[in-house]
Subunit: 223 residues, 2 copies
């Protein structure tokens, strides 16, 4: 089990299905780069709250996007420890037995304390990274944020110091006694696919769908 820049702490060492654990930087970064959203958790008075939000990887840190009005982002910016989890489902794993049904997936769990990005130039760059994470190429076209829009945006940064990945691949693993059953077993691959772009009803005439929208792809095997 390779380990380098994402050292597993006692909190991120995977105890359940340890054979699925990955702590190497390449695996963690590839999952973060492919995922669209994270599920961000924070605790308040013993109760966890889990909120979906957009993010992007910026080198060895994770940028998390929100509005200063959001309760969780205010809490997070105030130094609450966070957990950001990114999960990509790759397939449904159908075993001969109900018990051994599973999924093929890649997930990353990041633990850390968030710091708000305040410096205007750094914040502008962070906002571009967040938009480019979702739609690569978009920042060359879209109008960039004004000073007022930047002020109205809260961007948090969490170091990728305490991160672990979990990956399941491959066919189902049935008990030997079940291998002869007349039941189909295998994997149904799944992935995020795009549909036909829907132009804004108020779009000016004569504007074509850009190539980076028409040809949008995001990892995965099923597309």
């Amino acid at each position: 089990m390779e380990r380098d820049a994402s050292p597993a702490s006692s909190r991120t060492t995977i105890k359940r299905y340890p054979e699925r654990a990955r702590y190497d930087r390449t695996t963690v970064e590839a999952i973060l780069d492919e995922g669209l959203i994270c599920h961000l958790g924070f605790a308040a008075d013993g109760q966890a709250f889990v909120i979906p939000t957009t993010y992007a990887r910026d080198g060895r840190r994770m940028l998390i996007h929100g509005s200063p009005a959001a309760r969780w982002l205010r809490a997070a910016a105030g130094g609450t420890p966070l957990c950001a989890t990114v999960t990509i489902i790759d397939g449904l794993v159908l075993a001969r037995s109900a018990f051994h049904h599973s999924m093929n997936y890649r997930s990353v769990v990041v633990l850390g304390n968030a710091a708000p990005i305040e410096e205007p130039a750094e914040k502008l760059r962070a906002m571009e990274i967040l938009v480019e994470h979702i739609v690569p190429g978009r920042c060359r076209e879209a109008r960039g944020p004004s000073a007022e829009e930047l002020r109205r945006t809260l961007i948090l940064s969490v170091a990728l110091d305490e991160a672990s990945a979990k990956v399941r691949v491959g066919p189902p693993i049935d008990d030997a006694a079940d291998m002869g059953l007349a039941v189909w077993a295998g994997e149904l691959p799944v992935a995020l696919a795009t549909g036909v772009p829907i132009a804004d009803p108020n779009l000016r005439g004569g504007i074509e769908v850009p190539d980076y929208v028409r040809g949008y792809r995001r990892g995965g095997r099923a597309r």
Copy 2:
């Protein structure tokens, strides 16, 4: 804003983008029925942990599946307050300005205390509901769980008493001053799509891919 069986508590009342909030039972249940996995959060010593896991809706409760060996499930079964969040991404929303980029999505946040399902007949039924949630039709074919397999499975139940949904649909909302920009704006729909089923390399000869696998569909517009 319709409200019935999922009363919004002060904890689930949506403060950010309240116009996207939905508290009606039909919306909450439809999102839970379409989602594949939930992101389950629990707090330990002020630190939130967020773990992806499988679940299913069973009437007015949510069933959550795991192994008795999983740290989080042990904590959850011990009465820790949970937050289970299910998010379905429906589209990438490209505005003329970077600031107004968004996503179309449907999400549900459930807060509650979990209780383990212990009674064998109820647990067997819960396991069937969990498998059917992922692949409807599968339980008619797969070998059902043995008493020992049931013992090795932990299934938690969380009431859907405190649940809220958040839904964004439609085109980008740009500032009036940006409407004339020569920038394509609109939505790129996304959805989970299936690929070609991959038979287990050890599958017995003469077993066809079942119809419920070949014709698998799961909501969404992009497929």
